[in-house]
Amino acid sequence: MATQISWSFEIRRIILEQSKRAHVGHIGSALSIADIVAALYSDQTSTFDPGNDDRDRLVLSKGHAVLAIYAALFLKGWITEDQLNTYCGDESLLGVHPEHLLRGIDFSTGSLGQGLSLGVGAALAARLQQSSRRVFVVASDAECNEGSLWEAVMFAAHHQLANLIAIIDLNGQQALGYTQDVLNLSPMADRWRAFGWDVHDVDGHDVAAMQATIANLDTTTGAPHVLIAHTVFGKGVSYMENQIKWHYWPMSDDEYQQAIAEIGVRS
């Protein structure tokens, strides 16, 4: 447990440090999935080791939250601190969205509604190659506005891609408002269930619970799995939580100091 808390803390710390240093936004979206990323990367049963061709695959469909992934890649030792510190710099592979040429990133993403299709292809390939590798897709709730995502939802269920695990970062918020006001997506779990997925409602900030859920999934036969991860946008920083502003906004010096102080005591 201590390790898991440390992972969440370290991911949040890096998100804040790097976004402050680079003076860029998307902080709230990255903090929202910090614990999901901690659950995936600190779990001994999942391997995203870029040196292993038969590794589990991860598609960060909500690519704008990639800073959480960069943090994990650094904590795993797959990118160096010097590389991490190039975030949003010139000649850097660490941009606001994931770039597959970076060690540890399987797919370039950023355009919402595309990642689940990539994951379906990757899962299908694993089945055809008789590999036990799993494919994780982390998508946002607002991304479910995109019709293309539901094409992939239908396909995965029809073909019973049990090795496909989608995680929906259900923070109820999108770029210009709350999802219930922009395009109501609730009841999210029922929608996925109706399409034939194996649905699990989870606390998206409970690392141990998410790991336990994933560990208990049958990824060999049956329906594809989705974790409806209930999260708080900007989780861990009081003035960011559930605030639309932090979808785009960078931090001031004072805001940064407060945020760093809060993640140390609030997590």
Partner: protein, 309 residues
């Protein structure tokens, strides 16, 4: 060219287990030879072209060579951003076969007319773009490109019977193929309209006008050196394509002329107007847009007269 595609794929897939065939619920009586021989490598994804491209990207990342099959507009335009962000951005060997370029689905109406696929694909430097003139060239072109590391877009016709004898199925990446040679005017054709261009050339010859006809079947990489070489010998060039005049082979030739400083007047024969709701056969619609051999003859003579005057 549909039969040529599937026949070639069956042969290739027999020795290469990486080849898969995906369709967006199209290809009745065409895809069965592959589907029956390799059921585990054939997939009808349903009416979902965006997902088809996304799936293919995931498959290709894992080592497969997926061929995607649909009508031109659905294969290129509907999933365009998926193509851009998937196989092109990742440089993965996804093959997209768009069937029925131009007015081949004439009676089906403007939603089924493929008039801009070459243009939208040609602006992407990372994709090989092939538009064969007949089924024999389609077969050669597929054999020459199926194993490339990056993505390929094929604009394929429906016709598997008509051949252009002078072409003899020749294809080479980044090259043009010459069908006949004359001194007065050059016609640069893309796709099956090369047949109309040849007929026009024969009529022009009877009137004492020597005509060179070349086929551009590989638009990316563009056959720049060949075009410079050929165009520099003529004062007038006609480009012929079942495509909007913007973005296709007419644009390519114009760009080559402009950038190389060749003194050659380019007259683009293609589709210049938005759909007007009038339907009809492929032949009728091509005629409407000045793409019949008779119209090409008239356009060629007018172009030559302008240059002389």
């Amino acid at each position: 060219m549909r039969v040529a595609l599937v026949k070639t794929l069956v042969e290739l897939a027999t020795t290469d287990p990486r080849i898969m065939l995906l369709t967006g619920d199209l290809g009745y009586t065409v895809l069965e030879p592959f589907a029956e021989k390799f059921p585990e490598r054939f997939l009808n994804v349903g009416v979902a072209e965006q997902n088809m491209v996304g799936i293919a990207t995931g498959l290709a990342e894992a080592g497969y060579i997926p061929f995607l099959y649909s009508i031109v507009t659905f294969a290129s335009l509907r999933p365009y951003e998926f193509i851009r962000n998937g196989p092109i951005l990742h440089q993965l060997p996804v093959r997209i076969a768009g069937i029925g370029g131009g007015f081949e689905y004439g009676h089906a109406g403007p939603t089924h007319h493929g008039l801009e696929d070459v243009g939208v694909m040609r602006v992407q430097p990372g994709i090989t773009l092939v538009a064969p003139a007949d089924h024999q060239q389609a077969r050669t072109a597929i054999q020459a490109t199926w194993d490339m590391p990056g993505p390929v877009y094929y604009r394929l016709g429906k016709d598997d019977r008509t051949t252009i004898p002078e072409l003899e199925g020749r294809f080479e990446l980044g090259r043009v193929q010459t069908l006949c040679e004359g001194e007065d005017i050059v016609i640069v054709a893309m796709g099956p309209l090369a047949g109309e261009a040849l007929t026009a050339a024969k009529t022009l010859a009877q009137q004492g006008i020597g005509c060179t006809v070349v086929v551009v079947a590989c638009l990316n990489p563009a056959p720049v050196a060949d075009l410079v070489n050929i165009l520099s010998r003529f004062r007038v060039a006609l480009t012929v394509e079942a495509h909007y005049i913007v973005g296709g082979v007419g644009s390519l030739v114009s760009e080559v002329v402009a950038e190389s400083g060749i003194r050659c007047r380019v007259v683009r024969c293609g589709v210049r107007t938005t759909p007007d709701g009038v339907g009809g056969s492929q032949r009728y619609l091509q005629g409407m847009h000045g793409l019949s051999s008779e119209a090409l003859v008239r356009t060629a003579i007018q172009a030559l007269e302008k240059v002389v005057s």
